[in-house]
């Protein structure tokens, strides 16, 4: 079930790791009246946020620094607990079922840069995306490796497989982490500022790849970005946030 067969665009034809497990609600991510705060922080980071993200859609979240965009993603993955309100993700109640949701998700973190002393190679770092699916004493098989190589190629890092990740440029590192997301074939894809280190052309091609993968895998994508122009043509919904609240949905 692992290999991405290559078609004309190089995107695997398989669907995600779990057959469409659409719960009756038809909503992949549901937040209703959710507020949350970071530990030891005086002010809430999110205030009464309600949001519905349907399955197989691409949602953009935008807003100024400190609006609460990253907080929203961390909440969806169960890294933060809601003070009030209800969160359901892929049919699971959060944060109770965090590990189940995390297994089905791929997360590109905003703060991804590694120090130049980091020695794991691109190939190793992307392979780590499969760690949670591998039992003890089951090394990566040929199909896994093929999937890893495919993901690296898809993000345009072919030829850099054996380079230590720390000595890649910022944009190259960002692409490597995106490859790590893709290799997991996630049902839910969360990308925090995926364009922040990319050149204009890179933003276009990566947007295209994200859209392609989403269609092929039938996954649900949430992209947080200040600059939504490269990807807006593929978006089903744009959510605008400010000061911990959702201030607009288009």
């Amino acid at each position: 079930m692992w290999g991405f067969r290559k078609n004309s665009r190089g995107i695997g034809e398989d669907t995600c790791r779990v057959p469409n497990r659409e719960d009756s609600s038809g909503v992949a991510v549901l937040l209703s009246n959710v507020s949350t705060a970071y530990p030891r922080s005086k002010n809430p980071a999110l205030i009464n946020v309600s949001l519905e993200v349907e399955y197989n859609t691409l949602t953009l979240i935008t807003g100024p620094n400190g609006a609460g965009k990253t907080t929203l993603l961390e909440l969806i993955l169960g890294f933060l607990k809601p003070l009030t309100g209800v969160i359901r993700v892929l049919g699971f109640k959060m944060p109770k079922d965090s590990r189940k949701v995390r297994m089905l998700s791929g997360y590109l973190m905003q703060d991804f840069m590694k120090s130049p002393r980091e020695t794991y190679t691109v190939m190793q770092v992307v392979s780590m995306g499969l760690a949670a699916y591998k039992g003890p004493l089951t090394p990566l098989n040929e199909k896994d490796l093929e999937a890893v190589r495919w993901a690296i190629k898809a993000v345009g890092l072919e030829g850099l497989e054996e380079k230590p990740i720390g000595i890649l440029s910022g944009g190259q590192q960002q692409r490597a982490f995106l490859a790590r997301v893709l290799v997991r074939k996630p049902k839910l894809i969360l990308l925090d500022e995926p364009f922040s280190s990319l050149d204009p052309e890179g933003r276009k091609t990566i947007s295209e790849i994200i859209d392609n993968v989403r269609r092929k895998l039938k996954s649900t994508v949430i992209v947080v970005s200040h600059d939504i122009s490269p990807i807006i043509e593929y978006a089903d919904k744009v959510v605008e946030m400010k000061s911990g609240r959702i201030v607009g949905v288009r």
């Binding site: 530990p39 030891r40 993955l77 890294f79 590990r99 189940k100 995390r102 297994m103 998700s105 791929g106 997360y107 973190m109 590694k114 002393r117 980091e118 020695t119 794991y120 190793q124 770092v125 392979s127 780590m128 995306g129 499969l130 760690a131 949670a132 591998k134 003890p136 004493l137 090394p139 990566l140 230590p164 997991r184």
Partner: protein, 251 residues
């Protein structure tokens, strides 16, 4: 270990083991077992407080560390002077090759083997954890499980090595090799680290035998020399690389 932010935790575990061993002098309990019990308690305490209260591991580690050092010191002072000058006490504090019994070697080998089996069978998960804990956790890797196993194995190893190198020096043996190797090359750190560690251990034992110096201190000195060698040779290599680059650019 270093990358997991467990450096301070290991520090704590090592010193808790020392505290345990020191307490065993007064309480006249078996030193290894007491050391092990103390180090496990310290490690669990740190994890528990971290999970339940969200206090940073570093903060709790440092607290526990100071606390255990204090216990160790108090225990040493409280011990009757007769006991303190005795074989056991100096053994725990400064170490001795004589402490190596066949049983202990078997135990150590068993530990190394189980560590190897564990690392080999969960290689991808452990790599993922060492690379980026947050990301590993976000991807559903069982961080708690693996952190616990790593801490348990460390605690056991420290409790056993304690008698060989002595409490004050166990730490330099654990970390100098890793740092030395890290300066020198990119890859294969764990393996090379263990190799360098083993080498300094061997050298230390030999040197201490011939010069009749305390074995723990000698091993640590060897490890430090390795570290210095590693750092200087890496700077030398870097110097040559730059020179070559300069000639390359200017032609």
């Amino acid at each position: 270990m270093r990358r997991l932010g467990l450096l301070t935790l290991c520090f704590t575990v090592a010193h808790a083991a020392l505290a345990g061993a020191s307490v065993s002098i007064i309480a006249s309990t078996p030193p290894e077992e007491t050391a092990f019990a103390f180090s496990i308690t310290a490690a669990l305490l740190v994890e528990l407080l971290y999970r339940r209260l969200g206090v940073e591991r570093e903060v709790i580690s440092m607290c526990t560390f100071s606390f255990s050092s204090a216990i160790a010191m108090i225990a040493v002072y409280m011990a009757p002077s007769v006991t303190l000058t005795s074989e056991t006490a100096s053994l725990i504090l400064w170490g001795s090759v004589l402490a190596v019994t066949p049983a202990k070697i078997v135990l150590l080998v068993f530990l190394v083997v189980s560590l190897a089996v564990y690392v080999l069978s969960f290689k991808l998960e452990i790599d993922s954890l060492l690379f980026d804990v947050k990301l590993a956790e976000a991807e559903g890797v069982n961080v708690t499980l693996h952190a616990t196993i790593l801490i348990l194995l460390t605690a056991m190893a420290i409790s056993i090595i304690l008698k060989l190198t002595g409490g004050f020096l166990v730490f330099s043996l654990l970390f100098n090799p890793v740092v030395a190797v890290e300066r020198l090359s990119y890859r294969r750190q764990p393996l090379l680290g263990a190799l360098v560690g083993g080498l300094s251990g061997l050298l230390g034992v030999v040197v201490s035998y011939f010069f009749d110096t305390p074995v723990g201190a000698t091993i640590s000195m060897m490890a430090s020399i390795m570290l210095i060698l590693g750092v200087t040779s890496s700077s030398l290599l870097e110097y040559h690389r730059t020179r070559r680059m300069k000639t390359y650019v200017s032609t």
